[in-house]
């Protein structure tokens, strides 16, 4: 899998947040993008996730143009964030049941167990702590068997044990030849990783 950015630019309220980025992200590696708050990390990820459309330039997914990919194949993307992305009135089990049906997932899951969420399966999500909601959301997002995994600050708010579990999971995904782009304003030491800096809308491989 390859995601190619060609002169990609994005502006919001007449201000360019992403400025003519050209780069090719390849699968089998973890692409770790670091940058200050407001540097455009989340915007870049949302563009790749097809939630936003480029103002100028193009994004290609295995040589498929952005518009075509968005129309036909955007469900091949997993977007993992620190946001809850779960129905708070429903229990965790009900959330999983519904979204598994939505994505037609029939895969054996292990993250719910590894994150120690199984004892809280029948509790309404609104009663969870922030960290538990985040773990539940990550466990659900990672159930999708996709080619592209986009992580937006997945470690923030997680305890050390959960961070390590997630770390290991991401490394294993990269070994399965998945394309992984991870953004964070805290640099983490990870195997199989290429580090980038995003500053003033431009991306560069970090030293």
């Amino acid at each position: 899998m390859q995601v190619k950015l060609k002169n990609l630019s994005f502006s919001y309220q007449n201000k360019f947040i992403i400025k003519k980025i050209s780069y090719s992200f390849e699968s089998g590696k973890i692409h770790f993008i670091n940058g200050k708050n407001g540097s455009g990390k989340t915007t870049l990820l949302k563009l790749i996730a097809t939630f936003l459309s480029p103002v100028y330039g193009e994004i290609e997914y295995n040589n498929i143009k952005f518009k075509k990919f968005k129309m036909e194949s955007r469900n091949k993307i997993s977007y993992i964030t620190h946001l809850p992305m779960l129905y708070p009135e429903l229990t965790l089990e009900e959330n999983f049941k519904f979204f598994k049906k939505l994505y037609s997932i029939d895969k054996k899951e292990d993250l719910r167990k590894n994150f120690n969420l199984l004892p809280y399966n029948d509790m309404q999500v609104k009663k969870y702590s922030r960290g538990m909601k985040q773990k539940a959301s990550i466990a659900l997002s990672l159930l999708k068997d996709t080619d592209i995994f986009l992580f937006d600050e997945p470690f923030s708010g997680l305890d050390i044990e959960s961070q390590n579990i997630l770390n290991e999971y991401i490394i294993n995904l990269s070994k399965e030849d998945k394309l992984i782009i991870l953004i964070s304003h805290h640099v983490r030491n990870m195997d199989n990783c290429i580090y980038y800096n995003l500053e003033n809308g431009k991306i560069a491989i970090a030293d």
Binding site: A49, L83, Y87, P88, Y103
Partner: protein, 224 residues
């Protein structure tokens, strides 16, 4: 078949979610009950006058009682960023909006049955009119109103400062005029050509609303 099963699970998800949070349902019941009681005890209505104002009361209660609830149709998706999950799923946003309209319609129809019964009891009205046309009128009006309000609730779901009534009320005005005329004709047993004229207008509005919603939903999500 699989797609139909998915759409049914989308409807049942919203229904389950709505009934888990009884505040909304209780608001619907108590608000409308309050309006009915105020009308019933504020005026000493003669039977003739009661029949004249009942269509207005029915539609005032339905519209005022349900606008706030329907305006929050996508509140949970918006507040908890669940839209991202739907955007990256095989289900189109149009399917999400249509299934939400259906689940809203189910809730509103059940509530309308309760509240209209209360209106007839409190205003001491008899029901010796054609119930088929009455139910059809209430259903047709509710379909149009629920469709429009659900659609706009999706549009403004990211903007909490928008007051839904300002958008919705001018748009449903033509529909509302027809509905009051039709309801009045039914309960006074005066179903004539004018009734069928308004029925066609109402159905016509519903078809237009539905077509516009189908066309616009993906465009709205595309632009956000």
């Amino acid at each position: 078949m699989e797609k139909l099963r998915l759409l049914i699970s989308l409807i049942s998800l919203h229904l389950k979610n709505s009934f888990r949070n009884p505040q909304k349902i209780l608001y619907l019941v108590f608000f409308s009950f309050l309006i009915v009681v105020i009308f019933a005890f504020s005026f000493d209505l003669s039977a003739k006058l009661a029949y004249k104002i009942t269509p207005g009361i029915i539609w005032t209660v339905i519209i005022l009682g349900s606008t706030n609830i329907l305006a929050e149709s996508f509140k949970e998706e918006s507040e908890n960023s669940i839209f991202y999950r739907f955007l990256l799923s095989p289900v189109s946003m149009t399917s999400l909006v249509i299934t939400r309209m259906i689940s809203n319609l189910i809730i509103i129809i059940v509530w309308e049955f309760l509240i209209i019964s209360l209106i007839f009891i409190f205003l001491n009205l008899n029901t010796d009119f054609d119930t088929f046309w009455f139910i059809l009128t209430i259903f047709t009006g509710s379909v149009g109103y629920v469709m429009l309000t659900t659609f706009f609730s999706m549009i403004v779901s990211e903007n909490k400062n928008v007051f839904m009534a300002i958008i919705i009320y001018p748009l449903i005005l033509p529909l509302l005029m027809g509905l009051i005329k039709m309801t009045s004709a039914i309960i006074t047993n005066q179903i004539n050509s004018e009734f069928f004229f308004w029925l066609k207008i109402t159905v016509g509005f519903n078809v237009i609303y539905f077509a516009v919603i189908i066309i616009l939903t993906e465009i709205v999500f595309e632009s956000e």
